[in-house]
Amino acid sequence: MIDHAPGTPVLEMRGIRKVFPGVVALDGVDFDLRAGEVHVLLGENGAGKSTLMKILSGAYTKDAGDVFIDGAPVSIGSPRDAQSLGIATIYQELSLVPQLTVAENILLGHEPSRAGVIDRAAMRDAARRSLAEVGLDLDPDRRLDRLGIAEQQMVEVAKALFRRARVLVMDEPTSALTAREIDRLFDVIRRVTAAGVAVVYISHRMRELAEIGTRVTVLRDGRAVGTFPLPETSFDALIRLMANREVRDHFPRRRCKAGDELLRLEHVSGPSGAPRVDDVSLTVCRGEIVGLAGLLGAGRTELARLVFGADRPSSGRVVVSGRDVTPKTPRQAIAAGIGFLPEDRKRHGLVLMRSVGENIGLPSLARWSRAGVVSGRTEHETAERWVTELRIKTPTVAERVVRLSGGTQQKVVLARWLAADASLLVMDEPTRGVDVGAKVEIYELMNRLTDAGAGILMISSELPEVLGMSDRIYVMRHGRIQAELDAASASEERVLQAALGLAS
């Protein structure tokens, strides 16, 4: 287990300040890291966690403040500087070469060679030693793309250790892992901290903090608001500090009476060519939130895409307000009043380098233009209205979306569909990668939308979210609806049983 005795600070950051146009990202942050500890950084999206870590890894340069390693001031001007100081960062998107072997990845740039020819035996040995350090029993000759995400992540840790990293920064390392893989990753973390490596751990998952964290520092609006020992500190206290508002109820669902039928799926299968959805029928009424639960790969995202016309169904009908609309394209779906919040906002939702206003207006331009000419005034005013309405944190509507945090970006996608007058919203993991405060805001927005008569079909892998927000729940398994549950009678166990196919 982790040694809780206070170690010596390996790293100290003092008075770190970073300003981006229109936003003070970090405002005099102090942070220290001791050998052998797992120090959790907690904060809403946009609180400054990533910025602080990017300064540490040399991706950004700070505007003010000092960084000390072992008490000596250092300057980190580039990722290379950070690496030579023993700071390694493991990003959400892995920075390994999929086509190379495990050994080649670990030793990339440090290949042992004789007269320019790589010594493969020595390379394999070195890789094996690093893998052993993280407790990973892997064939060093396997191609990296043959491994699962979790194993790739551990290879990345091994790579960092090979480079003699003393500080390991892990940004949301568990977001793509299963429960069992998370356990394995935690074993690795315990192993490396026992060897004296210090870990900075960024995560939104409260349960993980208690399990792996030694201390936690809460960031809010670019400031460090406190550092506390774990697991003694209560979640509620931390959430209050992060959000700076009392979160009494994480799922403030206001039940409202379901009205007329808004969406009806009749025996929908597809997509044609590569069917993943098999004979699904369901309904969503006005004012209702319908949850779609199931394991990853159960066909939920595929179903959402069929409803929205992103893919074409091979059979079945999509009926909106009694009219058969079975969309062949997103355009037809939008015309029928359907909006779609995709799971991967950056790939499927937003044009990152364009402005907030342009992103909000994209589906509505046809309505805002005459003879193909867009009314700049309508576009601008609508964007401004939704930015204010949804409290989208951006200096102006002309700001590029790429500069905003995850939760803020999600709100931009939501604003887009509200501006387009969508009455049925299909939300695929609406709060993924979104911090607690923004989550609650999004839930509140869902309440307001359903109060106003909209219907929501929500895919979520977080059971508390499904149970807390849905009025009815469908559970999918192998592309089919396995069970339909009423919110009142549903429980985590029943949903899980259906998802796993254990009972109906």
């Binding site: 959000a243 508002r245 997103p330 355009r331 990152l352 700049g376 409290r391 887009r416």
Partner: protein
């Protein structure tokens, strides 16, 4: 302690206190263009010092006239590059449109009809490019590279490899005429830029071009008919190439099947010198115009300095590489 409510108010203040979005956007675009303008002015100053013939009204008009052809081709190229594509067939299209136009004139077609034929060929070829790229999902590089050869071959076939020359003064006045004392090609170029700028910045089509270049899938999922608009981008490029062909034919009083060789290079250079990103989603026509002028001034200066045309080609290639390199480095630093 603050409350959530106060946070909200502060957020609103932030948006109220800041400059208007339009102003921010304008300033951003201005800063992009400023670099290109500074480069152009620096180049002009240098040439002014090096040669007395550079800074004369006659030479200035000369440069602008010569620039007009590349500047017009670069309009379509800007659309294509912002949409995330590339059009390597523009030079061959200039030749093909030119010889079709010339044949029509020689066959005694009235000027408007001949012009329509020339522009129609440009539009149709662009349409073919666009359809195969958008619906056949062929990479733009490959499709337009192939079309570069196809259109050139067609131009050679139509003319049997021989130039077509000698048109009446009415047609030639497109290049030789003056509007309020300003040479017609300059007026035509500016008019095209004005229209194209309006299209790119104010119309739905323009927005979609940026959207497609920035994130095609997100744009499709916003209900935009991506394939149609992508196709239209290549039609625009075909049409601007054909307009350039009209001007070239009128100025030289000749249409050659081997005209327009390497025009794609000059056009791409003008676009990237003007700050448009080769990865799509960003850029504007103001920059492209400055980029085209920079190319024109450079060629003109090298001519005035008596630099051999062989060396000129070498220098211009290097300028393009350096311009893009600087852009990449600046972007990296900013990121």
């Amino acid at each position: 302690m603050e409350t959530g409510r106060e946070t909200a108010i502060r957020d609103n203040d932030l948006s109220r206190r800041g400059p208007t979005p339009a102003a921010v956007a304008r300033r951003y675009r201005a800063s992009q263009r400023l670099k290109a303008v500074a480069g152009l002015i620096g180049l002009c100053l240098l040439l002014w010092i090096l040669t007395p013939h550079f800074l004369t009204v006659a030479n200035a008009l000369n440069v602008m006239e010569q620039t007009s052809i590349n500047a017009i081709v670069a309009v379509g190229m800007t659309f294509v590059i912002i949409s995330g594509g590339i059009d390597l067939s523009v030079g061959s299209l200039v030749a093909l449109s030119g010889v079709v136009l010339a044949s029509a004139l020689k066959s005694g077609w009235p000027i408007p009809l001949a012009l329509a034929a020339g522009l129609g060929v440009g539009a149709a070829t662009g349409l073919l490019n666009g359809v195969v790229i958008a619906f056949g999902r062929l990479p733009p590089f490959i499709m337009t590279l192939g079309m570069m050869s196809v259109a050139r071959g067609a131009a050679l076939l139509v003319t049997d490899g021989r130039p077509i020359s000698g048109f009446d003064a009415g047609f030639r006045s497109i290049a030789t005429g003056r509007v309020f004392g300003v040479p017609a090609p300059i007026v035509l170029t500016l008019a095209i830029y004005a229209v194209a700028h309006f299209v790119l910045s104010r119309t739905r089509f323009g927005r979609y071009v940026y959207g497609i270049g920035g994130n095609e899938e997100a744009t499709r999922l916003s209900g935009v008919n991506v394939r149609f608009h992508k196709t239209m981008v290549y039609v625009v490029s075909g049409v601007t190439s054909a307009i350039a062909a009209v001007l070239l034919t009128a100025r030289l009083n000749t249409a050659q099947p081997i005209a327009g060789i390497m025009y794609e290079l000059d056009a791409i250079a003008a676009v990237v010198i003007g700050g448009t990103s080769l990865s799509g989603g960003e850029g504007n026509l103001g920059g492209t115009l400055i980029g085209a002028l920079t190319m024109g001034v450079l060629r003109n200066g090298l001519n005035l300095l008596g630099v051999s045309s062989f060396l000129q080609q070498l220098v211009i290639g290097m300028v393009i590489i350096v311009a893009v390199l600087v852009d990449v480095l600046v972007k990296e630093k900013r990121a």
